[in-house]
């Protein structure tokens, strides 16, 4: 890769005090993610994968080390990350195991909400959201509320929402865990497409070995460290 990395972690650590001991959820992790790259994070339960995403997503500051996005240091120990909301809105898209859609908004409104938050005028937001949903094969579902959607459909709406503000970095924590293997592969395929077409860096925590062929590379974690 010739381009500058979209995301860089430098010796990032995250420690949680637990009684008298210290849980080293993340214990000095460094890596780069480049634009257009789809990277998988693997590892046993409790190895620190979700913690890694929290740190990279500017939801928690690291106990030590730094997070750089587009070459700029955006998170370091003791930082108040509530100030980074605006930055998050424009630079990072999140997808989780649960779709986390807002139950009282329709599919298209859930996606448009991300644009609304970014001060895009209502009509433009709605039409772009509908366009995004259509590109994810959800044109027929735009006006359904989440409870009327299948798990896979909900997850695709969540992906559309993460894409709405065209962020350079997409972080996904086990986005396929609640889906069957066909649907799961579809979602990872979607991320592949996003990385290729939008040149976004996509970091996906996954347990599913059957989708690994779609990734550019994988990061293995164990006990809060990268092991391969």
């Amino acid at each position: 890769m010739i381009a500058a990395p979209i995301l860089t972690l430098r010796d990032a650590a995250r420690h949680y005090p637990s009684g008298d001991t210290l849980v080293r959820a993340l214990d000095g992790v460094s890596f780069n993610i480049y634009p257009g790259e789809l990277v998988g994070i693997l590892g046993p339960s409790g190895s620190g994968k979700s913690t890694l995403l929290l740190i990279a997503g500017l939801l928690e500051p690291p106990s030590a080390g730094e997070v750089h996005i587009r070459g700029k240091c955006v998170s370091h120990p003791g930082m108040d990350l509530d100030q980074m909301r605006h930055f998050r809105r424009n630079n990072i898209g999140f997808v989780f195991q649960k779709a986390n859609l807002i139950p009282f908004l329709t599919a298209v409104e859930n996606v448009a909400l991300a644009l609304h938050i970014d001060d895009v005028p209502a009509r433009a937001a709605r039409s772009y959201a509908a366009h995004l949903l259509a590109s994810l094969d959800l044109a027929h579902r735009v006006d359904s509320i989440p409870s009327r959607l299948s798990g896979g459909e909900q997850q695709r709406v969540a992906v559309a929402r993460a894409l709405a503000t065209d962020p350079g970095l997409i972080l996904a924590d086990e986005p396929t865990a609640a889906l069957d293997s066909v649907r799961g592969r579809q979602v990872i395929g979607l991320f592949r497409q996003i990385a290729d077409e939008r040149k976004a860096g996509v970091l996906v925590v996954t347990h599913d070995p059957r989708t690994l062929d779609l990734f550019d590379r994988t990061i293995e974690m164990n006990d809060g460290r990268i092991v391969g």
Partner: protein, 387 residues
Amino acid sequence: MNLALKDIRHNAVRFLLTVTGVAFLITASIGMVGLYRGIVSDALLIIEEVGADLWVVQGGRAGPFSESSAISAELDRRVEGVAGVASARRFVQVSQQFDHGGRQLRAALVGVDYPEDAGQWTHLIQGRPLASGHFEAIADEAVGLSLGDRIRLGQEDYTIVGLTRGMVDMSGDGLLLVSVNDALAIAQRRTSEEVLLARSAGGRAPAAPSGGSSVRQDSKIAAVLVTLDPAADPEAVRRTILRWGDANVLSKAEQAGLLLDQRLWRLRVQILAFTAVLLLVMTIVISLIIYMLTMEKVHEIALLKLMGARNTLIIGMIAQQSFLIGAAALGLGLVLAQGIFPHFPRKVAIDPGDIAMLGGAVALVCGFASLIGISRAMKVRAQEVLS
């Protein structure tokens, strides 16, 4: 995109139930205040309508509404002689209970000085004012009589010649208007037991005068209503009458003040306290609801923060829901009040000024409730999306 409205539409039934509950509290508040306003306006009715500039009452007394007043029967003639007095009318009011067709009816019997006063000032909706000094009566519809009814009061039968609407005394009894002389005759009729009791007391109590013209000892005339010449100085007239020593003079404003500040002040404090309690309950209820709605949306709020929403978006959503509940409840409460209270036995006066004040109070309550919800929402962290 208005999140508050979308959420309300999604949970419409719950919103409507909440609004209905709060609306009933508001209706109750409107009723409390309206009941007080109704009592005040009923109490002031005669004072306002009878058209007297001054009330001459028993010396040292503040009658006839705040305490009893009895003046000598010829006082009106003396008052009439005072310079500046255009007319003087005798006035008497007593509560009366009587039987009509097997029903026990209550009325506030008012004696007016026919023919100077034939009851033209009452709000007649049917019939006519008094046309004779005897055995005719004007009744308010609240008494429960109709035009042409004949009722027995004292020893005589009276014919209802006129019907009024909304003419009641402080306790809500409809007025029954007769001439002063008739009123005195009715008021002084004693039951046979009373006569026996009086005899056994050694005959100290004077016997009831027969016929009802001369009433010296136990006069039932309560006041003389004075109308002044347009050019007269009320103070001069007052000073002249006070100098006699046996009479007190009250202006219209003083009569009204006595009623409101002396007779009704406890009621006023009570009703204010009751309204305060209702507002407190409303505060607790709305705060609890808003807090619950916020708690229920913690996940969505965390998501909004994760997506980078400004606090104003979240605050707006909570505050708008709070104020929408308040505004809808105020509207519904008002509609309910207007539908329900006309069927209440006593007048409930809905005053626009009171409604405006209540609206202000509801706005304060909603503002407070929003703060409770907002302070909870501000504590939500974006990471909570994951929990």
